[in-house]
Amino acid sequence: MTEKLKTLMDESADLQFAVPDLDAIVKAGDRSVRRRRLVAGAGGLAAAAVVAGVVIGVSAGGSDRVTDPAAGSDGAVAEWASGAVLHTQAGTIDVGHPVRAYVRTSVGYLVADDDGTVWSVVAGDVRKVGTTSAEHAHLVGDDDAPMGAWVDTTADPVGYVAYDQAHRQNIYLGPDHDGKLVALDAGQLYVQEGRETKVYAVDGPDARLDPPAPGDRLLTWEDGVAVWEDPGGGDEESKYLVGRTEMEPVEIPQVQGELAMLSPDARWLTLDADEPRVYDVQTGAEVTMDVGDRDFATGYGWLDDDTLMMIAGKGGDGAVELLVCQVPSGTCTPDPESAGKLGTFADAVGFALPVGTPLGD
């Protein structure tokens, strides 16, 4: 009798289906590979530093300028780097070393160059502060503090190191256990080691992690708000949750790209997918982003509480574009400064985004 259900399902599904469009599959697959290689980088966008707060930089003209992006996001421009030059809200900064990966802090930047040397960049002062993997550089920064972190390959043993740009001080946090740096926030470094999230206290109170629960996979952390994957179990499906200790977590739809970035005020969440995925953290509602006829767009950093930078393109191998988008209105504007300078998704090389990892790995 076992066959009866099987037989009935066989008969029910005995239909004519269209032959898969192999060319379409291969084209879409190749496009996905190129985009993933370009955008995701070694550690993905999850480690992206949000880029809010006061920006201090040196303009191309050489003068120090101070701007507050939050004061006027209408004039916001996308942040990116090309060669040794950082393109910032305040103008350009030549750091003197090829920028392979970089992140923002509250007062400046941390940059990893092609040799894996880590540089601190604050108000025109560029100084060597550590060494990381040249091939798989991965930095995290705190938008609310003058601090960044990385896996330092010259530490003994190789381990997690934070750098305090205010006090020009390195802090060794502990040996690396092949972990993935997730976030640096409020003096705590969050590292995913297998299915376990480890927290290292840079300063202040003892490290704590609540939520997520043990066994959950932390995706990002900002301003006391965590985004994590609950793997489910029993009759429960795995799901993405966002919340903080004292509030009921909100479920967010899962996406194939599993990376997440919270806005500086932790009100909005963008997930790394082939199409824009922006959510209201308080309700879980998706924000509709108008990216025009582009068939690929994903957030890569927040300029302020409601201004999101996106990398986008259309037509498979089309030109790489950077957009500056407003949330929750969903309006997006192409960034004029980078237009035409980033190549196409087929050949884009030689630029970096402030996500902490090299593009194209």
Partner: protein
């Protein structure tokens, strides 16, 4: 793309897409959606092709993508309980009327199962996967598969009555 053997991938698609379509159809109950599901899953399989190494791995990977994508679609689009119960275009079966009725009843009943129960039933009893293979496809524990299958069969029995004999699929002790 040197590491993506297009010829080998094409051979895999030709050989297995029929079976994959049928399983996808049983999971979502709609020919067009099943085709979209398979197309998307095959695209992901193509992307992952260099690390899948052989056809068996590729098929297991594709089934996993189909299953999880279907579950995601159900969750995202709220299909559960909203889908047409049975669309049978270009039916190649010309069997007896009660056979047709039974098949229609089966698709009706499958449509009323929660998505994970439906996926578990299809993977276990249509694809003939073991509990462990089903758990891998669904990205869950074997115990979850057992409970989903048990609950799914119990609901099918309640919905189908005598239309389908599920007796020896039910766990000992009956109603699960």
């Amino acid at each position: 793309m040197a590491t993506r053997d297009r010829a080998a991938f094409a051979e895999f698609v030709t050989a297995r897409s029929g079976a994959l379509h049928r399983a996808a159809y049983l999971m979502v109950g709609d020919v067009g959606l099943a085709q979209d599901l398979v197309q998307e899953a095959l695209t992901k399989t193509y992307v992952a092709w260099p690390r899948l190494r052989d056809t068996a791995n590729a098929e297991a990977y594709t089934r996993k993508v189909i299953t999880n994508t279907a579950l995601t679609w159900f969750r995202r689009k709220g299909w559960y309980g909203e889908q047409p119960a049975a669309e049978l275009p270009e039916d190649t079966d010309h069997g007896h009327a009660d056979h047709v009725a039974a098949r229609t009843s089966l698709m009706d009943a499958l449509a009323q199962l929660p998505p994970r129960q439906r996926a578990a039933i299809v993977l276990r009893f249509y694809d003939d996967l073991t509990e462990a293979q089903t758990a891998a496809a669904m990205d869950c524990a074997v115990g979850t598969v057992k409970s989903q299958v048990s609950a799914g069969l119990a609901k099918l029995r309640a919905l189908l009555g005598d239309a389908v004999d599920l007796a020896d699929l039910m766990p000992a002790g009956g109603a699960a």
